[in-house]
Amino acid sequence: MTTLEEVQTRVHVPLVQPRLPRQAPGIVGVIAIAFGGLLLVLGTGLVGSVIIGAIAFLVVLPVWSLVIEGRRGATDRLMTGLIWTSFGIAVVPLVSLIWRVISKGAGRIDGTFLSYSFFKTQIDQPVGVYHAIIGTLLITLGAAIISVPVGVMAAIYLVEYGKGNKLAKAITFLVDVMTGIPSIVAGLFAFALFTLIFGPAYVSGIGGSVALSLLMIPIVVRATEEMLMLVPDDLREAAYALGTPKWKTIVRIVLPTALGGILTGVTLAISRVIGETAPLLLIAGATDRTNMNLFDGAMTTLPVLIYGQNLRGDAPAEAIAWGAAFILIVIVMVLNLAARIIGKIFAPKKG
């Protein structure tokens, strides 16, 4: 009789560790939100309540888990919570920044803001950022004209001709290092180059283009290189077998196949440099007039204009700065979107 009882007690040894119910994080989450909400009602600020609510969640769930699941389970719960929290923290500034720019900037945008420059011919003429939009577009266009051929040809050398020789390896490595050049150093380079050639106090849009292309070339090379490597060797070999010269194979077969990816890369590169400020401060200068000539005289771009208005710091200047920032963000986002659409359109068709 006693043996049977013993057996029965032994059978009750659990084979799995006790686990929290599946809904545990949800339950604790609701409690934490309720707790935060209560603090908010009681008068703690919004930021404070959110922080305290998050901490409450990060404490309660691991402690509960520690009691039931043991130390390892608790560590896992804690780290999972922390890792998701880190994502939440990163989203806050992005949302805050976008919301600020839209709420402060969108209202400033109208026809006059887009079509007038800072240069006043009459005392009561409205001001706008037309000159800066033109400057941004021209200088970035100049940078693209310099860096796209150089970048694409260099990538062709790396993939089609260099194929692992020492020079190609050195270029690949240095291109990687070049992506980390501070933008202000690129500006100083253009400044040093142009003032040595054309004398001191030289400013022009093309100097800005040169500085930006120094930042843009590595991005273009990396994007093109990756796309060219994706082109299957079968295509190249089929072309060679038909007696096509190598350069014609590259121009007619390889480049069209990789075109979508290259265009995407170039668009992203443009969106990266279009918001650069520091190099243009040094070499492109700033002006109130609309300057259409890249090779002569100062040229204002949107980022430089924003910086200038920030320096002035009064209320109308701040409004103009937010308006210009809104336009700049819209341009960058449109370029990013365009890059994605181009990538979709030109994506190699399957089957």
Binding site: R72, I171, V177, L188, I217, S271, G275, A278, A325
Partner: protein
């Protein structure tokens, strides 16, 4: 019979060479030239900065302005300012970036991971001047209570308290600049660590899970050891970005020359890049030379940091390929 065949082969070889030779040579030459342009550009950066900045190292004492007498005295506070802001940025950004990378690579289901990655890429797309504007007009004001709180609560603690002395009333401190920098370098660190995390061999992960590891233990035992060198180089690349970033520091920080441990001070030394952006307007030839010289120091420093980072990546890639 043999002679004509040889002749035909010979002729066809010649024909191919004649048709293809010129075009191929021109094209290959252009491609090679483009590659060399990149090398020349990089060398050119160094050479032109050196030419323009060489005299900046040894100017008469008055050029270095009211706070310094020699180039060393001029550049050291700037170096300290650069590194303080960058290190604050790294301390904030690195754990966040690793966390986000883990969310994308291991924690989130795929339909969450893709939008998350996109949101982080958006952070990278925002122009630096907009970050500066946001930091100067919005974030600095929001952080004033935090400055006061840090000063009141951590200030009295010995040693740590040195970091939190008299706070800046407008919130325009090195700490704020570092926070803005942290947001700016977050995307690059996330992008690289995400890449190496997702390359962890699936079998390692499954083996760990099969042995009863929790998810965090799996990450600690398989993902981190595999990705270690990638994580190190991601941090280095983030450091390189932070060292050279201009606008955030220029627009946020209120500049001064007080060398102290206080990271929420009213006036702290600015960074090299920000100093150039602030001073270039004076356009006095002597000062410009000095600025270019400090730019050369910055260039060499970031070059070195990036060089080491890429070297670590390259080495680990070779090791994995084997």
């Amino acid at each position: 019979m043999t002679a004509p065949t040889a002749e035909v082969e010979d002729a066809s070889a010649n024909w191919a060479k004649a048709r293809a030779g010129v075009g191929d040579k021109i094209f290959a030459g252009t491609a090679l030239a483009a590659g060399c342009v990149i090398l020349a550009a990089l060398a050119g950066v160094f050479i032109f900065l050196a030419i323009k900045g060489a005299s900046g190292f040894t100017k008469p004492a008055e050029v270095y302005g009211p706070h310094a007498e020699s180039f060393l005295g001029y550049v050291v506070p700037l170096l300290i300012g650069t590194f303080t802001a960058s290190i604050i940025a790294l301390i904030i950004a690195v754990p966040l970036a690793f966390g986000i990378a883990l969310v994308i690579s291991h924690y989130a289901p795929r339909w969450v991971a893709a939008p998350v990655a996109y949101v982080i890429d958006l952070l990278a797309a925002v122009p630096s001047v907009v970050y500066g504007l946001w930091g100067a007009f919005f974030l600095a004001k929001q952080l004033v209570p935090m400055h006061v709180w840090l000063h009141e609560n951590l200030g009295p603690i010995p040693l740590v308290g040195n970091l939190f002395g008299e706070p800046n009333p407008a919130g325009r401190s090195v700490l704020t600049a570092g926070i803005v920098l942290a947001i700016m370098i977050l995307p690059i660190i996330t992008a690289i660590t995400r890449e190496v995390f997702s390359r962890t061999p699936r079998l390692h992960e499954e083996a760990a899970l099969a042995l009863g590891a929790t998810r965090w233990e799996m990450v600690r035992m398989t993902v981190f050891p595999y990705a270690r060198s990638g994580m190190v180089s991601a941090v280095m690349l983030g450091l390189g970005r932070a060292l050279g970033e201009t606008m955030a520091v220029t627009m946020v920080l209120s500049v001064g020359f007080d060398l102290s441990w206080n990271i929420i001070a009213t006036s702290s030394p600015t960074s090299i890049a920000a100093n150039i952006a602030l001073k270039y307007k004076e356009r006095s030839a002597d000062l410009l030379n000095v600025l270019v010289a400090t730019g050369l120091v910055l260039f060499l420093m970031t070059f070195l940091v990036n060089f080491i980072a890429r070297w670590i990546v390259g080495r680990s890639e070779r090791r994995m390929a084997r």
